[in-house]
């Protein structure tokens, strides 16, 4: 490797000056990769957090009963098959795979699954969201689990499959308010965790893979790499330099400006994850200006998403101006309500404001520099909103403050966030009447209820289209558009699937 040779040569020259024997070049064990992630995961307990970086790391050592294939369809993972669902949709009978070993050597049985799911209902944000509908979770023999619901809830399997706020299965003995050990069934096991330095996972030799062909997160999981080291690198420029210099074989969340450099550097290639997600202006329907439907519609009329996206991402390669809440590659894609998107109509906004009796009070937009594209979008939005008759106040705080402030309805009118496109609409909390947006009314609640209890897939698509129409008519939030995300990998690293939550089983290093 040229860089290694150069380093040795340089070390010989400078060794005396540095007063140390620094002649050794780094020795990488075969089949070891370093993966630069955007920061230290706030926890290694994926039930506890909905942060994407937690999912990315922990899915290597924790597994769920179900997972998603490449088309985001739910398929079994630790479950043997899809569940038998009773005709009324209230009983899910889940057969478990036999002979599954945990990292501590114990064997998974239905008691572990029941205990894990019960904890999930208690501590996980997504689990708590469904807890009211769950009447009971019981074992039926060593290898079957039965979940009974009080009312039909069709997103249940998606919730059980998601690696984010995951219903992961761990031995009953490690469960508590906190996990007493990081023990899962995944293809890799946690070897060592030095906070802010690395999270080292190594091949779990007793892993029993599924035999179906790999598809997305489902099917065969081959442990070709011996070891994966997740290295938290909060500074995006450092992640870029690290992957360009060959220090990392994969880097997540890179600034789009780095695309050309990555593309023109030998041994590295950009991975453009398109589509990745959507920037969101979340509205406060609980109190203040935005509780008024006319004011929300005025915001919707005033905004110019294309300009906001240009400012945020700089190049059309990285974004799409699109009304649909799911991009075309998802089954949920539809165009209902699209005529109310991308209006940039200042006159209409002013008219709606005068109808609302707007008195010029400042519209408070809460944002931060944590994600620079949030701030850039806010700056452009301010200009268009002012043209539309609003007085706008940008409240720029750090991310920790924003996550606290948004829980106080008196402190904001709009806050800016973003989300990856999730496999199932019900995984997004914004539709829920109990979310911090407070989007609740009879019409919408009825559609949402029907959507979450309907089991016919075709009918669910129709109901989601109705829900999307209501999003545009009632404006509980504003989808600015779609954006892509830039990742980079060594050309020697093969078998990495493009997904918002990258994983490295099935990945290999070539010479």
């Amino acid at each position: 490797m040229t860089s290694t040779f150069r380093f040795r040569k340089f070390s010989l020259l400078t060794g005396t000056l540095m007063g140390a024997t620094m002649l050794t070049s780094p020795v990488f064990a075969e089949g070891v990769i370093d993966v630069a992630i955007i920061g230290e995961p706030p926890t290694l307990d994926p039930m506890m957090s909905t942060a994407d970086v937690v999912s990315i790391v922990t899915q290597h050592f924790f597994e769920t009963l179900y997972t998603f294939d490449e088309n985001w369809a739910v398929v079994p993972l630790l479950a043997q098959d899809m569940p038998e669902i009773s005709e009324d949709g209230l009983t899910y009978r889940i057969p478990l795979r036999e002979g599954i070993t945990f990292h501590d050597g114990s064997t998974m049985d239905s008691a572990d699954v029941v205990a894990s799911l019960q904890r999930w209902l208690k501590v996980s944000t997504r689990g708590k969201g469904v807890a009211e509908q769950v009447a009971g979770i019981e074992t039926d023999g060593a290898n079957t689990v039965v979940i009974t619901l009080t009312e039909s809830y069709s997103p249940l399997l998606s919730l059980l499959a998601f690696s984010n706020a995951a219903a992961m299965i761990v031995p009953e003995e490690v469960l508590g308010e906190e996990l007493s050990a990081i023990v899962g069934t995944g293809p890799y096991k946690l070897e060592e965790h030095l906070p802010d330095q690395y999270i080292q996972v190594t091949r779990f030799d007793d892993y029993v893979s599924r035999e179906e062909p790999s598809s997305g997160g489902s099917g065969k999981r081959e442990q070709i790499l011996d070891e994966i080291r997740f290295v938290p690198v909060p500074d995006a420029a450092t992640r870029v330099e690290g992957v360009l210099s060959g220090q990392f074989q994969f880097a997540d969340g890179l600034p789009t400006e780095a695309y050309d450099r990555i593309e023109s550097t030998d041994g590295v290639e950009p991975m453009l994850l398109a589509p990745f997600g959507w920037p969101i202006f979340a509205f406060n329907l609980k109190e203040g200006l935005m509780a008024d439907q006319n004011v929300r519609s005025a915001v919707q009329a005033a905004l110019a998403p294309e300009d906001m996206l240009y400012a945020a991402f700089g190049d059309e390669k990285f974004f799409v101006t699109d009304a649909a809440l799911f991009p075309e590659s998802f089954q949920w894609h539809n165009e209902e309500g699209a005529e109310l998107y991308n209006q940039a109509d200042a006159a209409k906004s002013q008219e709606l404001l005068s109808k609302a009796g707007y008195d010029g009070s400042p519209l408070r937009i809460l944002t931060s520099h944590q994600y620079e594209f949030h701030y850039k979008m806010a700056e452009v939005a301010k200009v268009y909103l002012e043209a539309g008759g609003f007085t706008v106040e940008l409240d720029v705080v750090d991310w920790a403050t924003l996550t606290q402030q948004r829980d106080n309805p008196a402190a904001w009118d709009i806050y800016i966030t973003h989300s990856p496109f999730l496999p199932e609409p019900a995984l997004t909390s914004m539709y829920s009447p109990t979310s911090r947006l407070g989007w609740a009314n009879e019409e919408k609640d009825a559609v949402l209820k029907e959507f979450t209890s309907e089991t016919d897939p075709e009918k669910r698509l129709e109901l989601f289209a109705e829900l999307q129409k209501l999003v545009y008519e009632q404006a509980p939030f504003y989808k600015v558009g779609g954006f892509n995300t830039l990742l980079a990998k060594s050309t020697a690293l093969d078998g990495v699937t493009e997904t918002p939550w990258p994983y490295f089983w099935n990945a290999s290093l070539s010479e």
Partner: protein, 313 residues
């Protein structure tokens, strides 16, 4: 002298108590919530409230303060909210890169600054002197993150001489880990040499114009003896002070450079803890850093006694 040492020591304790209190108050006054950050973007307000209660963050501020003081007196810096580890052991993990980075940086800074500062004073008013002053001003003005990025791109990415990020993996030996410190040490060494150059030059200029230097020359001593033995020895007090303070600042304040090079040192621990509002870690790290700062100041004062016995208190 003993009473002076005791007096200074008592002063240190008072300063530390004030630091403890200030750190606690400032950290609690800042908005932001560790529970919300830990739970992620989809967490509901109720989830956040539940976790706050579990972490004991819902207790009243005076109760938390009293508990904090009792723990510190016992030598317990608390438990990190995010890492679920004692803050003391987190700090120990982070001490190695920070201490060696500071040591290498100060060595580089002093190696650059002392000869240049002395030569500049000796050649006062010449082109060399003017060039040196201008270069030192430029070095002091260059932001360390910018210099770091340039070094990273040119010496790390383009030439491949040094790693650009981190502090090695699980199988990295001590010697290899030191290699990760070369680039950031050079950056900090260059940036911090500027102040030491200016202090050395100024202090040497004062001394070189003194009568005893003229006397030394008239006795026929060599220029080397005059400048180094008589001049530098007497100019050392302000120079040692600035070197000591620079070292203390490096230990506590190499934050930007640690972040650019992704070094898991104390500086980056504090920044990460502040961004995550990991109260026990912020408090523990700042107490240790402030303690070191106060201790180094104390040692500098003690060093005065050694360098110049005329210093009477």
């Amino acid at each position: 002298m003993t009473s002076y040492v005791l007096q200074r020591f008592a002063g240190m304790l008072v300063v530390m108590f004030l630091v403890l209190t200030t750190v606690f108050i400032v950290v609690r006054l800042a908005p932001g919530d560790p529970a919300a950050l830990m739970l992620g973007p989809e967490a509901t307000p109720q989830d956040v409230a539940d976790l706050r209660a579990r972490l004991g963050l819902d207790r009243s501020i005076p109760v938390q303060y009293a508990q904090f003081l009792v723990d510190v007196v016992r030598g317990d810096l608390g438990q990190s909210i995010f890492f679920n580890q004692p803050v003391g052991s987190l700090l120990l993990q982070r001490a190695e890169p920070t201490i060696f980075l500071s040591l290498f940086s100060i060595l580089i800074a002093v190696s650059i600054a002392l000869p240049i500062g002395i030569a500049s004073a000796y050649t006062r008013g010449t082109l060399f002197d003017q060039g040196t002053i201008s270069t030192a001003m430029l070095a002091a003005s260059v932001p360390s993150f910018w210099l770091g990025l340039i070094f990273q791109q040119q010496l790390g990415t383009r030439l491949g001489w040094f790693p650009v990020s981190g502090y090695g993996g699980p199988d990295t030996s001590f010697i290899e880990r030191m290699r990760y410190l070369i680039l950031p040490s050079i950056v900090l060494g260059i940036v911090n040499s500027a102040l030491i150059i200016r202090f050395t030059r100024a202090s040497m200029l004062d001394i070189l114009s003194d009568d005893f230097i003229r006397t030394a020359r008239s006795k026929g001593m060599s220029e080397w003896q005059v400048v180094i033995k008589h001049g530098l020895k007497n100019a050392l007090i302000p120079i040692v002070t600035v070197i000591g303070l620079t070292f203390a600042l490096l230990i506590s304040g190499a934050v930007v450079t640690e972040r650019v090079f992704n070094l898991p040192g104390i500086g980056s621990l504090v920044v990460g803890a502040v961004l995550r509002r990991d109260y026990p870690t912020i408090q523990g790290a700042l107490i240790v850093v402030a303690g070191l700062y106060v201790l180094i100041n104390f040692l500098i004062d003690m060093l005065y006694l050694v360098i110049d016995p005329r210093v009477k208190y």
